[in-house]
């Protein structure tokens, strides 16, 4: 290859990598969205169980959600702020503990965990809100 073409090649490769990175970002956000929706569904199940007065089923839903979350967390930590992940872990643990104690505050704790999970992919999306 001619030396004069090296700049052209680097220019093309860099933009190809940037495009691949952008596609990868969309793929990662898709994965986060799916995870957040799955966990959100579990937490909604817990809320419905609470409405029916079934504390054990509600706790079962949250335990499952927490297991799923802790399995996904190391992978998410590669590209997501660790503080954000920790906040979700704490919210889920708090909800589980309050449900085990059959505390009335469990409902607000579940709402907090759901909100933080919903925010997980939202903070990554290339939206004007996030850029500015």
């Amino acid at each position: 290859m001619k030396r004069s073409r090296v700049s052209d090649l680097i220019f093309i490769v860099l933009w190809l990598l940037a495009a691949l990175g952008a596609l990868g970002e969309y793929w990662l956000i898709g994965g986060q969205t799916a995870l957040a929706q799955g966990l959100g569904g579990q937490l909604e199940g817990a809320v419905r169980a609470l409405d029916a007065g079934d504390w054990a089923l509600a706790r079962e839903h949250v335990v499952q959600a927490r297991d799923q979350w802790e399995r996904a967390r190391p992978r998410l930590a590669l590209y997501t702020g660790h503080a954000q992940l920790q906040a979700i872990s704490e919210a889920l643990l708090e909800a589980e503990t309050l449900l085990a104690a059959q505390s009335t505050q469990a409902r607000s704790s579940l709402a907090l965990a759901r909100d933080r999970l919903r925010e997980l992919p939202e903070r990554q999306r290339p939206l004007l809100d996030n850029i500015f």
Partner: protein, 258 residues
């Protein structure tokens, strides 16, 4: 602590590779966009280095984005002179025919003291000796002196000179450069013969050997620095030090014993 260490190493290597891709101009003459890149490189890399709560990928993505932006701008300036003028600006003549161009100075917000300082640094304390001074886009001042104040060259004297070219390094720090040898049509056997003629049996014992365009072979064996009595370092200084510390050695006059 180990995490920070590893992160710093990763970011250091990444920055090194990226700066290498950006080219040599980055560390010598900086255009405005190159200066911006270097400043931001340091800042963006520093955040994930220190904050282990930030994923390293985020820092690398930032550095990569800078690389793409900087390379793209330099690529555009390479391809388009109009873009070059917009991004890097144009050189400005600040001294013409020995007189300061006041309008240009005002436009650049470049004061006379700074101009005179640069002229003095360039070796021209008198502005009248300068034919042209041009403030380049990288902030350097190029000075073209009047013909009467230029250093005399062989051409001025009508003296014929022979072609000098560049000497070809053949051995550097004990390693033969076979590529250079082949380029000038010689081989390792010839090189070994030349080295032996200089009293060295093995090329590994040679610090530096070259062949210039006049056919002169230069060979400096390892462990043979500057000649004795030279002002700095080398065998001479080492020998003098040893003599001074040798038992029974005479002390130089007017100096306390070591």
């Amino acid at each position: 602590m180990l995490i920070v260490f590893v992160r710093v190493i990763i970011l250091y290597v990444t920055l090194l590779v990226f700066l290498r891709i950006l080219g040599k101009r980055q560390v010598t003459t900086l255009q405005p966009y190159e200066l911006v890149t270097l400043i931001l490189f340091a800042d963006i890399a520093a955040i994930p280095m220190a904050d282990t709560g930030t994923p390293l990928v985020n820092g690398l993505a930032g550095v990569f984005a800078l690389l793409v932006a900087s390379f793209t701008v330099s690529y555009i300036t390479l391809k388009s002179s109009r873009a070059r003028a917009i991004i890097s600006g144009r050189p400005t003549v600040v001294v013409a025919n020995g007189r300061i161009v006041e309008d240009a100075m005002l436009e650049l917000r470049y004061n006379v003291n700074d101009l005179l300082e640069q002229l003095r640094i360039g070796g021209y304390p008198n502005v009248q000796d300068v034919e042209f001074a041009v403030l380049e886009t990288n902030g350097q001042l190029s000075i073209v002196p009047k013909s009467q104040h230029r250093p005399v060259t062989p051409a001025d004297l009508g003296v014929a000179t022979s072609y000098e070219g560049l000497p070809t390094p053949l051995v550097v720090d004990g390693e033969i450069d076979y590529g250079n040898l082949a380029r000038i049509g010689l081989d390792a056997a010839w090189l070994r013969q030349q080295i032996r003629a200089h009293g060295v049996d093995d090329p590994r014992g040679v610090l530096y050997a070259t062949l210039d365009t006049q056919g002169r072979f230069f060979c400096q064996p390892k462990g043979h620095g500057a000649p004795a009595g030279s002002p700095k370092g080398g065998v001479g200084r080492e020998r003098a030090r040893r003599n001074r510390h040798a038992p029974g050695a005479a002390q130089p006059e007017g100096r306390a014993p070591a």
